[in-house]
């Protein structure tokens, strides 16, 4: 898999997760979910368990993305916010 293909799969997975997040947050808050592109693969209570569930399906690490079912964070602050 090329770097470009891997990045494309990751973006597909992110879009699918963003699409599904409201429903997943209502049904399985705090659990972990894995996507291969747009395809939802599996759930688990712990992140490391989900990795191994995906490996058991024959997938390599580059082929799937694991997300925690919680609100996405797109920015953080380092240090104090001193804006007026």
């Amino acid at each position: 898999m090329t770097v470009e293909q891997q990045a494309d799969l990751g973006q597909q997975a992110l879009r699918a997760f963003e699409r599904d997040l409201p429903r997943l947050w209502a049904e399985r808050p705090g659990q972990w979910v894995a996507y291969q592109g747009e395809h939802l693969l599996d759930f688990a209570a712990h992140k490391h368990e989900l990795y191994h569930q995906c490996f058991a399906q024959g997938l390599t690490r580059e082929e799937f993305v694991v997300f925690c079912i919680e609100p996405l964070e797109t920015e953080i602050w380092l240090g104090p916010d001193i804006r007026d």
Binding site: L14, K47, H48, R61, E73, I76, W77
Partner: protein, 172 residues
């Protein structure tokens, strides 16, 4: 809750370029950075000091060098959503790599079994080739990671130490 870190001393360094020399203190925790899929605790021997930063709004933050130092390839295992980091000096978009942190105990009976602190959103890192300043640019742990791990923390400014208790039941 079992005591996991017993009166770990603050990190102190003295800037001897100033006259008179000026001392600085930082609250640090011994941590091992690993891949996110470990089934068993890593060796505690590779622990490094991470700064406890209650001002950081995320879970953690590091520099590219810290990932390499821990044996992680910064260019692999990246999550598809980069993060915008805002500081008083401006904003920066940084990559996020999936990883976990493990807190290392200084209690002899617990030394060999570090406590996993799951990073729910991965580890954002400053992706620069330069080596970070060992005093001013240490990796950071934020409140969100400590809360997710369910830790109890006692900071003793009279004796310059920090103690940590872990939950009776693993929560992350």
């Amino acid at each position: 809750m079992p005591l996991f870190i017993d009166r770990w001393p603050f990190h102190c360094w003295t800037d001897s370029t100033r006259t008179p020399p000026l001392s600085h203190w930082t609250i640090v925790l011994p941590v091992v950075l690993t891949e996110p899929m470990l089934l068993n605790p890593p060796s505690a021997t590779t622990a490094t000091d991470w700064v406890l930063d209650t001002g950081i709004r995320g879970e953690a933050f590091a520099w590219r060098h810290h990932l390499i130092q821990a044996g992680l390839d910064p260019d692999q295992g990246r999550l598809p959503l980069p993060l915008i980091v805002r500081t008083v000096a401006g904003r920066l978009t940084v990559p996020v790599r999936d990883a976990d942190l493990w807190l290392v105990s200084n209690v002899p009976a617990l030394r060999a079994t570090p406590y996993r602190m799951v990073l729910h959103r991965g580890l954002p890192f400053h992706d620069v080739p330069t080596r970070p300043d060992p005093e001013f640019q240490r990796p950071l742990i934020g409140v969100r990671a400590l809360r997710a791990a369910g830790l109890k923390v006692e900071i003793d400014f009279a004796n310059d130490t920090i103690s940590v208790w872990t939950p009776d039941v693993y929560v992350s």
